[in-house]
Amino acid sequence: MPTEPKTAASLPDAEGRFGAFGGRYVPETLVRALDELAIAYDEARRDEAFQKELAELRFNYVGRPSPLYHARRLSEHCGGAQIWLKREDLNHTGSHKINNTLGQALLTMRMGKRRVIAETGAGQHGVATATACARFGLECVVYMGAEDIRRQAPNVFSMKLLGAEVRHVDTGSKTLRDAINDAMRDWMSSVESTHYILGSVVGPHPFPRIVRDFQSVIGQEAIEQSQQRIGRLPDLVVACVGGGSNAAGMFYPFVAETDVPLVGVEAGGRGPTPGDHASPLSYGSPGVLHGSFSYVMQNDDGQTDDVHSISAGLDYPGVGPEHSYWKDSGRVTYTACEDGAALAAFDMLAKTEGILPALESSHAVAKAMELAAERPQSEAIVVCLSGRGDKDAAEIARLREG
């Protein structure tokens, strides 16, 4: 059984609230399915057989625990604190997303549903969902924005090879936000036979809680590994935040360890001008999007702003409600990293450590490098390396040739 953190375990409350944030702002059509999901999850999390099956999958199928790797050459390059990488990129399918999709695929089976839908931005969640569905023999449809299909082509091929149907989304900005809209619309019509495997800690209750819990294995392992390898808890923990699932999974077990500062890194894009970034916690304000109340990028009329990030997985105008709660309570510090710094971090990790990070994770690496340079060698920074960068190689080459 996963260990429950010491505090904040009571959040969200019964209405799905993390303080003021979260809740359930969805059409009535979806409410029953969300209620059923909440009940199924509550039963599953107390069911030893469910937890045992999930643990066995994590060990034998995903390859967990993922290593905590001391990036010595990167640390030397920065000339300060030690940088340790939590290697979620080494998971089966190449990112942390599989932690959630296996858990939710098991829930799908438990609820007696045979069809799964999902949204994807970078394609990491799409691939992880297609993988879990193949593993359990579930029908799988993935919604993906046309712009993301272009810039993350390798993942589109993988999803198809895994037997999933990839549906192009041509509305709006043709990115993650529009993919979520279309997945929700599918679910409006298919809710009685279909489970929606939402990929991040966003959306209506109970999704933010379920996804956080399934991802918390990251932080739980990081705590144990830090104690074994570093001999204590880290001095700082850093993770990138789009919707915020890898960060929530990393941070949640640390929330009770109040001596450990936590830093979430949003996509700063081209800069702080609205439309140039995807940093609602840094530059947005609370509002409603995709079923939950959280920080969001909107205009004065409540229309969602277009956002920009070089990274498809962070190119999203909203963020999980628990992050909004952690921001306002001061437990986590949120900051933004711009496209250029993320690309530079990608290069430096590749060259010093032989690791190609996902562009999403590169944002966290960039911030960790900056913070490491300001801190003594005796300190240890743990960074969530949420995914691998193979998917981004062609797009980075294109940007440089362009």
Binding site: G23, P27, E28, V31, R32, T171, G287, G302, T304
Partner: protein, 267 residues
């Protein structure tokens, strides 16, 4: 007493049913919408639902989505829409109800939205992404502002919950005909009439049915069990042709279409 309550009391006394066209505000511009509302009410619509364009409408099918994209793409702002509604409301003999996302109401300021809606002469609002569990505070504020807050029941709503929603709703109860998104359908669910008839037994509140209704035969089938019928995508689809046709012609065609549905209501 809110205008919608007066309307349905009057309709029931006369044993008449309501037809409620849905139009997207600002598609293709507010002046067109203003004329269109005048047209459909002039033809005999008893009330009119005004869709406030929203960037991320998850309950809407392609036709209404596209109308929101057109309106927002043309740069329409909420203040302009409310000003337009303020001009048209006193001129038409029918309550106007906005269909508006909570994202918009919250960002504008809940009390400010209600005050301005009241000032514009609107009768109420439908907030499709605010389920009853989240709506208690807004319902209270609407009561204080003498506005109706219309809530929705769908085929996926468990029966005891439907009763709770009926108790919380005001003006009328919006029964969504299908588990799905807005859009014209050739066939409606087989159990629709029975489901509405059941709901009819549970509440005194008027019941209006929406989603999928587009044909005179739908109107004939459903009007015996409902107090009113809501028609959206079939109208919005005709308005989409305003890009290629003169506005007068499009407005007249929508008017003719509304008249054809009105003719299918019991006299």
């Amino acid at each position: 007493m809110p205008a919608i309550d007066d309307l349905f009391r009057d309709l029931r006394a006369k044993q008449r049913k309501a037809l409620m066209p849905f139009v997207t505000a600002g598609d293709p511009n507010p002046e067109f919408t203003e004329r269109l509302i005048g047209e459909v009410v002039g033809r005999g619509a008893s009330l009119c639902e005004i869709g406030i364009p929203y960037s991320d409408p998850i309950a809407d099918g392609p036709v209404i989505q596209a109308s929101y994209v057109r309106a927002l793409g043309a740069g329409v702002r909420l203040n302009e829409i409310l000003a337009m509604l303020g001009r048209v409301a006193p001129k038409v003999a029918a309550p106007l109800v906005t269909m508006v996302s909570y994202a918009i109401v919250y960002r504008h300021g809940v009390q400010k939205y209600l005050d301005e809606a009241r000032q514009a002469g609107l009768a109420g609002l439908i907030v499709p992404d605010l389920p009853v569990d989240e709506a208690a505070r807004l319902a209270e504020q609407c009561r204080a502002a003498d506005l109706s807050l219309v809530q929705l029941v769908t085929p996926t709503t468990p029966r005891e919950r439907a009763v709770r929603i009926a108790a919380a709703s005001s003006g009328f109860l919006y029964y969504v005909s299908v588990a799905g998104i807005t859009g014209e359908r050739t066939e409606l669910p087989a159990d629709l009439v029975d489901n509405v008839a059941w709901l009819r037994e549970q509440t005194e509140l008027p019941i209006c049915i929406g989603f999928g209704i587009s044909r005179p035969e739908h109107v004939r089938l459903l009007s015996p069990v409902a107090d009113g019928l809501i028609v959206g995508s079939a109208i919005v689809r005709r308005v989409a042709e305003a890009a290629e046709k003169p506005a007068d012609q499009v407005i007249a065609e929508v008017g003719d279409y509304v008249a054809s549905l009105l003719a299918a209501l019991p006299a």
